[in-house]
Symmetry: C2
Subunit: 339 residues, 2 copies
């Protein structure tokens, strides 16, 4: 818990990135008690200005001394920056909410989705990890189902937007699309293959077991967040030519008898969830609709028809908001003592 | 079987469509014994010309008399045209290989993927159905696995290209993409929502059980083609902003113990299959690479890690070729008596 105060010194590390920018705007939107905002970035970004509550604030260079007197730092500048600087922040008594994968699986570090496992924050760790984007939106839906029906196994295929790979990937999809329409050869730099008008079954690096790191994040982080090492997850993660929001096709087998009516009822009152499910009127969650929205959207909730006790659904969320910046700010909110 | 002849009178119904055009070029490529090619289409297309073996041939209007003296007709002009004209062709003694869904589930009509169930052609039916594109590429991979390990259950998520919805959908993806890049509002006519930079979990119409017709085709056609009503299939079919080729993420549970090494060995000699599976070198099947190619491509073959006896893979094929035109011509080839 943060000490009770009127307002906090809040640093955002990686303030000029897509997630950092959103962290700052969400802190403002949600009236987080900020006494002073300190946007931090690499030397390259120094001199840039960001706007917070109508005020222009100069971006400062991230250094070892950046966290003196800082109460809370939201990190979104990649794993190596987090590895180096989050422990320094913690040593200064500053909470570090880290968006990278650097600390997620450390046993002492809470891995938190506020709607799912807020209790994990009852820890002495000053570093708190924000889960992977594709995991966050999945566990928000899985949690109420697990509590009620006990999940045995999840088979998930993802449809992930390029914004998950950063601004350069967004530019690459744009420039490849433009080149393609002009009949030119699209150039690939961020991804190993053309992403425009294509689907790449490859996110993050491949591991020895044939799965990618992204896929194993979905396995391991889900178990940690749902606090059940017995949950089985079988993922295929795929990059698609979409700018913002990840979509996921999910099949969940449960121990107790499950059906779509029960799940719709359960999810209609679940925190952070919005059901969009009227297929007859072509109504279901869409990446383009989820962009810049807070909830995790779920639809196409339907009984499994393959003879097992299972349910199917389609989950969409803004990967930069609920999958990253919003979730981090929600964690920060839980650290503020209730008056 | 066709009567033994040097060459056949071959009609292509829907000759000016994307699949019809490919049927004609594939008949030429594969040296199908065509004595005369009769391109048929609606009155609207009469006067257009198609090229076959360097010759220009005028498109004729499809009428009730079109099949007199015709040996073989390849239909790709939609279900209602097939329903009306395929029985007329059959009555004339003409084989009708039908790409629509009109006759696929008729018990007397063979539903054929030549690599999978050529034996189904031992039937007196003059109408032979070509399966749905997303089913064809899946069963080419499932067949050898089923024979060796007995499949119990398949969970599949698709990434289907817009060419499956015809030329207008290709134009819609192009025009929406262009509008988007120009900062204009994309207009949707073919699909109920924007397809550019989006994923629509909706292909064909929704049925009462919450699944789409496309999804139920994958369930029912798979059982018919693999001649095993006990195979369980749980599909989610999704339209993605890709022009050509469908991709599929597939999880297959089997009765006998299965592992990736055995499956790679099995598929490396399976008919119609090409393995592309060297993830360390970013090598896996891609929609853009499969375009205009014949094989069904499979990669990312890896053991299930979710505690069940299962295997995962990623399957890609050109939906207009192996998913439609090529498969129809391959069926036709099986009807030609071996000299």
């Amino acid at each position: 818990m943060l000490a009770p105060k009127e307002g906090y010194q809040v640093a955002v590390v990686g303030a000029t990135g897509a997630v950092g920018e959103r962290m700052i705007s969400i802190l403002e939107e949600r009236n987080f008690p900020v006494a002073r905002l300190i946007p931090l970035a690499s030397a390259r970004s120094v001199g840039k200005e960001i706007t917070f509550r109508g005020e222009s604030i100069k971006v400062e260079e991230l250094t070892e001394d950046s966290f003196e007197g800082v109460d809370l730092a939201l990190f979104s500048a990649g794993g190596s920056i987090s590895k180096q600087f989050a422990p320094l922040a913690a040593k200064e008594g500053c909470y570090a909410v880290d968006n990278s994968s650097a600390f997620r699986m450390e046993p002492d570090v809470p891995l938190v989705v506020p709607e799912v496992n807020p209790g994990a924050l009852n820890s002495s760790s000053k570093i708190i990890a924000n889960p992977n984007c594709s995991t966050i939106q999945m566990v928000v839906i899985l949690k109420p189902i697990h509590d009620e029906f006990k999940i045995k196994r999840v088979v998930v295929s993802t449809y992930q937007s390029v914004s998950g790979s950063g601004q350069k990937a967004i530019e690459e999809l744009k420039s490849q699309t433009k080149a393609f329409l002009e009949g030119k050869e699209p150039e690939s730099n961020v991804y190993p293959h053309q992403i425009a008008f294509n689907c790449l079954p490859h996110i993050d690096v491949f591991l020895e077991n044939g799965y990618t790191k992204e896929e194993m994040k979905m396995v391991n982080e889900t178990r940690k967040i749902l606090e059940d090492p017995g949950i089985q997850v079988c993922p295929t993660t795929v990059r698609v030519p979409v700018f913002y929001s990840h979509s996921e096709a999910i099949n969940v087998e449960t121990e107790k008898p499950i059906d779509s009516m029960k799940v719709i009822k359960l999810l209609s009152s679940a925190p952070g969830v919005k059901i969009i499910d009227d297929p007859e009127n072509s109504s279901y969650p869409l990446a383009t609709d989820a962009q810049e929205k807070d909830p995790v959207f779920v639809g196409r909730i339907r009984d499994d028809i393959s003879g097992v006790n299972a349910i199917n659904f389609w989950v969409v969320a803004d990967n930069l908001r609920k999958g990253a910046a919003l979730n981090a700010v929600q964690i920060a909110e839980l650290l503020v003592p209730v008056k």
